[in-house]
């Protein structure tokens, strides 16, 4: 039996040696002549490529336009592009659609409330068909100078004035910092119990330092209240205002004799974001097509901004391959200029090198807001 025990010990030792040889060290995934590791990355559909604060550093309490560039890296359009700023008070801005490979530059109104270095993040989101897509936030630090700062209680002091796109004042948003267009219904928030009801005598509005309007019946509307059933608001036609920044000073006069005066600043945009770069084979710009993604043959072409209606107070800079090609201050905005009879002048394609060319338009709006659009075409 002694021999049996000896063989059993040999057997156990041999098993331990064999099994010990093939056992992987803790955490190892592979042993042998080679191994592999899989890498994975999610490619952003949208990329924040630049955040540009105003050239002049803002003071605490200033409303300024921060320009955010967002590139669409999908091979298809992204709809309802929305750009926002985190880190300061902002209401964000929306662009309708960004084509594949295009970069949209969006002016986002931002309040800087506190003096000192302020880090802001730009976010962007949109719709790829029905699928939401978003960009990883980009960051920038803005040096904010000394200033009066923002009101202590924005809900009472800064934001009681709101805007709606409907006469019934539905879905109101704070007017301050908002980009508006078309008919806007501006009113003092009737839902704010601190300001409405029996405490307020009337509200006085003054737009851009012009004529004062008054409403003494809640809800207090900038353009007055219709006598129709339901007392719908009368609208402010922003198309008669220049695109750019505007200010409403409104004074709430309380029944006790005290007043509260506040300011709301907003941006009117009735054209720049709705326009695109188009081309036509006709000087009358008929049967035009989007320039972006086009292949241009022949000797000449007519490139212009469509629709051709003017953007009040705007100048339009055309750039080709990054260099300023022309500045137009009157509509229609033509890449090669406009003839006396209103026709577009031709852009000569002869001699243009083969390959891709990019045309950029910059709409420079009053108030320091710039909206940029790009279109690329190929010369086969």
């Amino acid at each position: 039996m002694k021999g049996v025990h000896a063989w059993r010990r040999v057997t156990v030792a041999m098993l331990a040696i064999v099994l010990g040889t093939v056992a992987f060290p803790a955490g190892a995934s592979t042993e042998g002549a080679g191994g592999s590791v899989d890498g994975g990355v999610t490619v952003s559909a949208l990329v924040v490529t630049a955040i540009t604060p105003p050239a002049t550093p803002p003071a605490a309490g200033d409303l300024v336009a921060v320009r955010v560039q967002v590139r669409n890296d999908l091979p298809r359009s992204v709809a309802s592009l929305t750009v926002g700023i985190v880190g300061a008070v902002s209401v964000g801005a929306t662009v309708a659609t960004v084509s594949a490979g295009q970069t949209a530059e969006v002016a986002v109104p931002v309040w800087f409330c506190v003096a000192g270095p302020t880090t802001i993040s730009a976010t962007a989101s949109g719709l790829d068909g029905v699928t939401p897509v978003a960009a990883a936030p980009g960051q920038s630090t803005v040096a904010v100078g000394a200033g009066p700062g923002c009101p202590d209680d924005p809900a009472v002091d800064r934001f009681p004035i709101r805007v709606s796109t409907a006469a019934d004042r539905s879905n109101p948003v704070p007017l301050d910092g908002r980009i508006v267009n078309g008919i806007a219904y501006v009113f003092v928030d009737p839902a704010n119990p601190a300001l409405v009801g029996t405490r307020i005598n009337r509200v006085e509005f003054r737009l851009d330092g012009g004529r004062m309007t008054t409403d003494s019946t809640p809800p207090f509307d900038l353009a007055g209240t219709s006598g129709s059933r339901g007392r719908p608001a009368r609208g402010l036609d922003t198309t008669v205002l220049a695109d750019g920044t505007h200010t409403i000073v409104f004074t709430v006069r309380f029944r006790g004799g005290s007043t509260q005066r506040s300011t709301a600043t907003f941006i009117v945009d009735n054209g720049a974001l709705a326009k695109s770069i188009r081309y036509s084979s006709s000087p009358q710009r008929s049967a035009s097509l989007p320039l972006d993604g086009s292949s241009l043959t022949g000797r000449q072409v007519y490139i212009y901004v469509g629709p051709t209606d003017r953007i009040i107070g705007a100048s339009v800079r055309f750039l080709r391959n990054g260099r300023v090609n022309r500045v137009e201050s009157q509509a229609p905005y033509d890449f090669a200029g406009t003839a006396r009879n209103g026709d577009a002048r031709p852009f000569t394609l002869t001699g243009l090198r083969r390959g891709t060319h990019t045309v950029t338009i910059e709409f420079r709006l009053p108030g320091g807001v710039t909206v940029t659009q790009k279109a690329s075409f190929t010369r086969p």
Binding site: T11, V22, G27, A33, G34, G39, V41, S44
Partner: protein, 182 residues
């Protein structure tokens, strides 16, 4: 004694079936040992041991995630490292080489590796549809390239230039690490 011998042979056979190359030396040695005396014989079979081959362990997660990146962004560090260790014969020098595959999304090749050497730094600018992959600071291509022989290595990825395909997709590539005896 016969019981012991049978048990031994059974175990050895089991080991040989499971791991023939590793068990072969032990099996051969066991079969030549005959404790039954000079008047008994056992047919002995020798399996020549092959020369020791290259051996490395590739440790750490089998997948490295780089999160969400945009075209044109700089090098991004993966969420895990890989530990490469040698388990080859101690009397031989072993090189460790690595390569990276094309990057694919949904089975379709999107990008090919771009060689950033000899300057695998932030100044390495990737082209359209070309990505850069650094393993332990060494720029990988489709051809195996010498990397640090052992230790913990980081994974870094730089996406292709703007205008590349694959936007909005989950893109994957495979890093293959090989041990080669000199």
């Amino acid at each position: 004694m016969r019981t012991a011998r049978l048990m031994l042979l059974a175990v050895a056979g089991l080991c040989a079936a499971a791991l023939p190359s590793l068990a072969a030396p032990f099996l051969a040695r066991a079969q030549t040992a005959d404790p039954s005396g000079p008047d008994r014989s056992v047919d002995a079979t020798f399996t020549p041991t092959s020369p020791p081959g290259p051996c490395i362990t590739v440790g750490g997660p089998a997948t490295v995630d780089f999160g969400q990146l945009g075209f044109g962004s700089g090098f991004a560090l993966g969420n895990a490292s890989t530990v490469v260790a040698s388990c080859g014969p101690p009397d031989r020098v072993q090189d460790v080489l690595a390569s990276v595959s094309d990057a694919t999304a949904l089975g379709i090749v999107q990008w090919t590796p771009f060689d950033c050497s000899p300057n695998p730094s932030a100044r390495c600018v990737t082209p359209t549809n070309g990505f850069a992959y650094l393993l332990g600071g060494v720029s990988l291509t489709a051809t195996p390239r010498l990397i640090v022989p052992a230790g913990r290595v980081d994974h870094q990825l730089r996406l292709p230039a703007p205008g590349s395909v694959g936007g909005g997709e989950v893109v994957r590539m495979t890093v293959t690490i090989l041990g080669v005896l000199r």
